[in-house]
Amino acid sequence: MSDRPVRTLFSGSRTGVGYKIVFITTIVVFTAVFVLPFLWLVLGAMKPAVELAKVPVTVLPETWNPGNYAEAWQLMDLGKYFLNTVFVVAGAWVVQILFDVPAAYALSKLRPVFGNGVLVAMLITLMLPPSTLLVPMYLTITDVPIVGVNLVNNPAAIWLPAAANAFNIYLLKRFFDQIPTELLDAARMDGAGAVTVLWRVVLPMARPILAVVSILAVVAAWKDFIWPLLVFSDPALQTLSVALQRFAPDTPINLLLAGLVLAALPMIAVFLVFQRHILAGLTAGSVKG
């Protein structure tokens, strides 16, 4: 980081022996605590089940069984659960963008009557711990008021509540607020309607914030457990997380471990590719320096 102030807590040199010892110790400890568990998992998943039950444990597999991954994929029918998860996650993402971007734009730039009241009512929901709403939410999706449909085992039960995300609205509105109104007025003078202005002027400028909101949405939906557990009582529709915990008690340990690796891979890949955006999203909202 170039904007980092040179002086920090310690004033000592960064070339001496003391610094090198601290640096190397930190590397070793960090690798042991945060990387080794992953390596241990990947290796464990390639051991035969008998070898995993032995004490003392082997570090490298005595018998290498990379085929465990394929076997786990087939035994637990992971392909199906991957597709279910992708479907649920993609839907949650699309609905959040499709519903929350126009809403935040309206609150920021169109400013209707009661707009501020609506915004406050949305932001208040951020103050409520989501798990305290589990029971009434569940009863709501079993019989959605007014329309009267039952959304149990329907991915819409994940998608629609996901769109009621005040944090998205807050992030997007704060970004739109910074776009000069003169710019939008100029476009309107040229005869552009509100939709055109959003589509042609605002969205191209909003790419960074759209990336942050998208990644937050995808990661949260992929990691979610308790809500999909309640929504999908039909095993064939379950997401990867829900299916894995259902299989865990009666799956051979080596195949379960292989399943864990496969379930973790997409998120690790997303992280490696979008690291910058993910870390930007982390410090985006609640906290300022």
Binding site: S11, L244, G289
Partner: protein, 316 residues
């Protein structure tokens, strides 16, 4: 609230109003159209908030005083649900466990990330690597982390006791022993989550102007004094905010005990949310479950409002 419309100097608005000859239908029509357009943009999100956020909030509180059975209409039962809850010995255990969990999680999850961030802020090499690996566990789906650590905790061939055996220690029984089970859950939760707190602290530390340290050093302050009088005051806001967020998050612990212990052994890991899940989705007693979630809501609101006040003050 738009500052520009509120604070527009009166002199600017007045001539405009004076020029307007009474009511002009064109202007009114434009206002209506503008508002309709705006609410057109808002309606999808509004419907979602109304059905899946605002309505459940109200319903949750009402449910706490009702009994539902899906056949007849909900019946008002006064404080019966709460009485049933208070009579359940597990209710008190669950609160005790959850508070103990939160306390332990703060010891590890609040102080450790700060110390790590302070350390990382001093290092001038491999900064990208540190930031990458500390955040890796955060990306793991909680179910994967829980199942992985359950395997690590296996008293026989598990990773932890295998490592302890190497140095000649007979390891504990971790999840299978009611004295260590809760602590074991704290360790997983800390490992999975400390990356985000660490990186938020690191970002805050990097905004501290170097001159402050320089000045403190010129005044003869040693490292501990500089930490106390420069680092901590400069990051106080972030520390406080994360403390509150962490209390609210850890009080809602569910996935780890649900997957790793199921609440056992001897109910040592029954948390408030696990008990809530049992009442609602095992016993189908939604009224008592709602009474419990209402209590949790009231308890956590204290922290939420403290958070709101602190961040508001910082915004102003």
């Amino acid at each position: 609230m738009s500052a520009s419309t509120l604070l527009r100097p009166a002199g600017e608005a007045a001539p405009d109003a004076a020029r307007r000859p009474g009511r002009r239908p064109g202007r009114l029509r434009r206002r209506v159209v503008e508002n309709l357009t705006a609410y057109g943009f808002l309606c999808a999100a509004l419907v979602c908030f109304a059905l899946f956020s605002w309505y459940p909030i109200v319903r949750g509180v009402l449910l706490a005083f009702q009994q539902v059975n899906f056949i007849t209409d909900p019946e008002w039962v006064g404080f019966e649900n709460f009485e049933r809850l208070f009579a359940d010995p597990l209710f008190w255990d669950a609160w005790g466990n959850t508070l103990l969990f939160t306390g332990l999680a703060l010891v590890f999850g609040f102080f450790v990330p700060f110390l790590i961030a302070v350390l990382l802020n001093e290092l001038r090499h491999a900064e990208g690597y540190f930031r990458l690996v500390v955040y890796l566990p955060v990306m793991l789906p909680p179910v994967v982390a829980a199942l992985l650590w359950k395997w690590f905790y296996d008293p026989g061939p598990g990773l932890f006791n295998s490592l302890l055996r190497v140095v000649g220690i007979d390891g504990p029984r971790w999840l299978d022993d009611s004295t260590t089970s809760l602590l074991s859950l704290v360790l997983v939760a800390t490992w999975s989550n400390l990356g985000s707190a660490t990186l938020i602290y690191l970002a805050a530390l990097q905004t501290i102007p170097g001159e402050l340290y320089e000045a403190a050093e010129l005044d003869g302050a040693n490292v501990v004094q500089r930490l106390r009088h420069v680092t901590i005051p400069q990051t106080r806001f972030v520390l406080l905010v994360l403390l509150l967020l962490q209390v609210v998050a850890t009080m809602q612990i569910f996935t780890e005990p649900y997957i790793m212990t199921g609440g056992g052994p001897d109910d040592s890991t029954v948390t408030v949310l696990l008990l809530l899940y049992r009442y609602a989705f095992v016993y189908n007693d939604f009224g008592t479950a709602s009474a419990l979630s209402t209590l949790l809501l009231v308890f956590l609101s204290v922290f939420s409002f403290a958070y709101l006040r602190i961040t508001r003050r910082a915004d102003a």
